[in-house]
Symmetry: C2
Subunit: 280 residues, 2 copies
C-alpha cells in the first residue's frame, strides 16, 4: 500500500519566483519539461487574478508553453465539465497559497476532487505551496499560533484533501517558529509524521519516500517514539509535555522513507534518480 | 560528580516583573525568603542604572528587604575586595540580561568569578535571565540567527562561566524560533544537551536534575542519539542534516535528569519537594 497516490511537490511557501526558480523548475521538469501542460488552481486565494497572473508569468518565463489558470469560487464551478477537462488535460497541477479551508470546502467531494485523485493515479504531478501544501494530507492544520510552546489549544485541524496519508504538513516552518504547533498537531495522533517545511523548500513525494529540494530544510517530527505525553489528561490551553520525540533535519538532497519513518542515508535504494546528492 | 556546583535558576528572558512574578519569587524563596540577601549584578547590560533600579523595585515589592546592585564596568572593579564581599554576603545572586560576552570578558578569571563559584559551593543561589542564562554553561551561544534551519555559520559560540557542565542554553526559545540555532550548537559536540528555555520560564537546577517553572516550556534537545550528521564534511553556511535527534518538551512541574539524559516521570526520586506537580 502506497502512502501517496502519485508524485507530489509540497512546498513550504515563499518559493523563489524571481531567481533560478529551482522548485518551480523541478515541478515543471517532473510534469514533462517542454511538453508540460500546467494548470494553476487559485481556489485558495481571494486574489485569484493577481496570483494567477503571477504564476502564468513565472511558468512562461521558465519555458512552459501551455499554462492556464483555473479559479473556483463556488461548488458549482468545481463540478463543471470544463474544469474537469482542464485537469484531465494537465500534466502538472499547481495549488497556490491562500487559505486551506477554501480548498477543502470548495473542492471536497466535487468532480474536480475526483479528477485530481484520478489524475494522480495516471501520472499527473500535483504541487502546492503554503495553503496548497497543508491541504495535501488526510488531516491538515487549518491555523495556529507560532512562536509558542506546544499546547492543545493553539492548533486547529480539519480534514484535508487526502493526497498523502500518514503525515501532517506545516509550512513557513523555521521562518514562523512553528515547532510548537506542529508538535501540538502530531501529539494528538502520533501515527502521523509531522513534516515542517521551510520557505523556498519542498518535498518531492514519489511512492513511499520523499526527497528534499530548495533552500531550507524539512524537519521530520516523529512522535511515534513518545515515551510520555500528558495529552490524555489535558484541558484546552494547558501546556503539553512530550518526552522522547524523534527529530530529523533534512536539507536539499536528503531523502526519507515514509513507511519506515527513517531517513534514507546510504543511497541504497534508487540513487539513480537525477539530482540526488550522493550521501555517503 | 555533580554537573552543577549549587542551585541555579536559569531563566529564558522576559520573566514576569509586574504580575505574580512567580519565577523571581521562587528565586527569592530558594535564597531564604524573608531572610534573603539578594545581589543583582548588571554587568551584562549597558544600562546598569535603569536595569538595576527595575530589579530593586521588583524584589522589594515581593518582600526582599536586603537587595543591592553591583555593576562592573571594568576588570579592576571585578577584582575589588568590596565586590567580593558583597557576593560573600549574598544568599542569592541575580544576573540581568544584556550581552553574555560582557559577563565572560569582564568577570572571567577575576575575584568575582572565584567568589561566585565558591558561593555556589556554600549554598548560595545563582540566577540569570537571558544573557545571564546563556553564560551559565561551559560553552555558550554568544549570538546567532533565529527562524532558520540549522547551519554551522548561524551560531557563534564562546567559553561560558562554567556554573553548569554538559549543556548549552538558549533563551527566548519558542518566541524567537531558535530550534535551528540550538541544533547548530549541540551538533558540534553532541555530548552537550541543548536546553531551549522559553520566555518567562526557568529551570531550577539542583544536583543532577532540574525542574521547570513558569509559563512556557523547556525544550531539551539531545543530539547524543544522532544516527547521522553531515557536519564533519560541511563548509561554513552549508545546511546541516541531522538524523535521530531526541526532543523532550517539558512545561512547568516536569523534571529532567541531566546525567541520565531522561525526563523524571514517576516522581520516584524526591517527590517531597514542594511545588512539584504530581506526574502519575
Amino acid at each position: 500500500m502506497s502512502q501517496v497516490e502519485g508524485t507530489l511537490v509540497i512546498i513550504g511557501g515563499a518559493e523563489d519566483k524571481k531567481g533560478n526558480c529551482d522548485i518551480l523548475r523541478e515541478f515543471v521538469k517532473l510534469s514533462g519539461s517542454k511538453h508540460a501542460r500546467i494548470l494553476v488552481i487559485t481556489v485558495a486565494t481571494e486574489l485569484p487574478i493577481e496570483v494567477g497572473n503571477q504564476y502564468i508569468e513565472v511558468f512562461q518565463r521558465i519555458g512552459v508553453e501551455d499554462v492556464r489558470v483555473l479559479d473556483v469560487s463556488n461548488r458549482d464551478a468545481a463540478n463543471s465539465p470544463s474544469a474537469v477537462q482542464q485537469i484531465e488535460n494537465a500534466t502538472g497541477v499547481f495549488f497556490t497559497g491562500g487559505d486551506q479551508i477554501r480548498i477543502t470546502t470548495l473542492l471536497g467531494g466535487t468532480q474536480i476532487d475526483a479528477a485530481l485523485h484520478k489524475g494522480l493515479e495516471k501520472g499527473m504531478v500535483l504541487a502546492g505551496t503554503s495553503a496548497g501544501a497543508s491541504m495535501m494530507s488526510s488531516t491538515m492544520i487549518v491555523e495556529g499560533t507560532g512562536e509558542t510552546n506546544p499546547k492543545i489549544g493553539i492548533v486547529d485541524m480539519a480534514p484535508g484533501m487526502e493526497f498523502i496519508r500518514g503525515v501532517v504538513i506545516d509550512q513557513h516552518f523555521a521562518q514562523r517558529g512553528r515547532l510548537g504547533r506542529l508538535l501540538s498537531a502530531v501529539a494528538q495522533y502520533p501515527h502521523h509524521l509531522g513534516l515542517g517545511i521551510d520557505e523556498n523548500t519542498a518535498v518531492v513525494v514519489e511512492g513511499l519516500s520523499f526527497r528534499v529540494i530548495g533552500d531550507g530544510a524539512v524537519s521530520v517530527v516523529d512522535a511515534g517514539s513518545l515515551v510520555y505525553s500528558n495529552l490524555p489528561h489535558l484541558r484546552k490551553d494547558d501546556d503539553l509535555a512530550l518526552c522522547g520525540i524523534k527529530l530529523h533535519i533534512l536539507p536539499a538532497g536528503y531523502r526519507f522513507h515514509l513507511r519506515d519513518r527513517m531517513p534514507i542515508l546510504d543511497g541504497d535504494e534508487d540513487s539513480k534518480r537525477e539530482g540526488n546528492r550522493e550521501l555517503k
